[in-house]
Amino acid sequence: MSGFARFWEILIAKLPVFLPYLLKGALVTLKITGATLVVAALFGLVLALMQRSRLRVLGVVSAAYIEIMRSVPVLTTLFVIYFGLASIGIQLPSFIAAVIGLGMLGAAYMAEIIRAGIEAVHHGQREAAVSLGMTPAQAMRFIVLPQALRVIVAPTANYTIGLLKDTAIVSTVAAPELLFAAKTLVSQTILPMQVYMLTAGIYLAMSWPLARAAHYLEARLSRGV
């Protein structure tokens, strides 16, 4: 039992040194998550609208993009953007490469979420809008999308939780987020178990409130349908 006790002894002793260092990384994690969410939502909206366009080409391109992004690991996409672009002269800072890489995949997920949200809005709404003389774009902007938002929020919250965890992957391209900070700390202190467990704890501290929020949103918004 003394090995177990020793473990916790060391962890508690090192806490004041480890925690601030890791929390700096956690802040970067949150920044990457936020930036990616915005990119994914915007790009995903474009993809969703492409699928509903009358031009079949746009729909096909959008669907193909989504299928491809969902069949390739994030790590691979990230390496293509970080290392691949670097080899042809475009060296992106790891934060930017991270947001682009994660955002490309995120757009595919958000496109599906948004599309489902739009389809959940009764078609009579669009009909009433265009009967009043609104163009399809106006109908989408003022009538359909605002209502679609209610259906989109809960899955988006779920996606965000997955995104938060996926940011750990960008540690492989030395983006200064939480897991990268952890790796650096381990290489300096040779206390992998303590450091990684603390790191896991910090991830939990970030994801758990998000999970509760998602749960709450799901329950509240499904009521008034």
Partner: protein, 262 residues
């Protein structure tokens, strides 16, 4: 009822309309002229094509054959080197703005208040400043008897109230023509009267209307002309006193017998 002017060109002209869904032909060559200020009631059994006719007039449905004219202007098509070409949804917006449609299921915008429902199109489509649009909306809600409910959301309104908001919403665009697609069919019986009253008022004021309805007494009361449709064609048309009292065709008689047995 205000007099109908038959000397001027018709407000609506429908020419040989054909519409099918898949391989089911719903409209098999329908033609009708509606004069300005005329009130047309369209009756008939389910599946006769009554709603589809209305929905083709504002091009919510695109016919396979036939043409629609609103006040002399082609609807949903343009002419190109002697051919007719159907236009895009975007290009339909301006002409649809000249027609008002009231749906069976109201289709009010749930995320907007009654006032906002009525004001949004004058503001966004006609470009009226927000204050002016809302002032117009306020007047119209007053007119349909809902002055106290301007800030209520649709979910708080009864069916009859919602439908009256829907009528005000359509009127806010100052349309040349009103299309009523079974406007009272989804209402509880005790709420039907208030909506019919609003439609009557509009009729008295001279609005050109096409009304698809199952309310036979109302149709007889309000209409200048009644169309009986069955199986995709207009079987018989004439003044209400003719259609309801002395129908010529057996199908018309059979339908009226079945419906008026209540």
């Amino acid at each position: 009822m205000s007099p109908t002017d038959h000397s001027a060109p018709p407000m609506v002209r429908v020419v040989d309309l054909h519409k099918q869904f898949g391989d089911h032909e719903v409209l098999r060559g329908v033609s009708v002229d509606v004069a300005m200020g005329e009130k047309i009631a369209i009756i008939g059994p389910s599946g006769a094509g009554k709603s589809t006719l209305l929905r083709c007039i504002n091009y919510l449905e695109r016919p396979q054959r036939g043409h629609i004219f609103l006040d002399g202007v082609l609807v949903g098509e343009r002419q190109e080197n002697g051919h007719y070409v159907q236009v895009s949804e975007r290009d339909l917006a301006p002409v649809r703005a000249q027609m008002g449609m009231v749906f069976q299921r109201f289709n009010l915008f749930p995320h907007l208040t009654a006032l906002q429902n009525v004001a949004i199109s004058p503001h966004r489509v006609l470009g009226l400043p927000k204050a002016e649009a809302e002032s117009r909306a306020s007047e119209l809600l007053d007119k349909v008897g809902l002055s106290g409910k301007t800030h209520a959301f649709p979910e708080k309104l009864s069916g009859g109230q919602q439908q009256r908001v829907a009528i005000a919403r359509a009127l806010a665009m100052r349309p040349k023509l009103m299309l009523f697609d079974e406007a009272t069919s989804a209402l509880d019986p005790e709420l039907i009267g208030e909506v019919l009253e609003v439609i009557r008022t509009l009729a008295r004021e001279g609005m050109t209307m096409l009304i698809v309805t199952h309310e036979m007494h109302f149709a007889e009361d309000v209409a200048d002309r009644v169309l009986f449709m069955d199986d995709g064609v207009i079987v018989e048309e004439g003044g209400p006193h003719v259609i309801f009292r002395a129908p010529q065709h057996e199908r018309t008689r059979a339908f009226l017998r079945a419906v008026l047995q209540r």
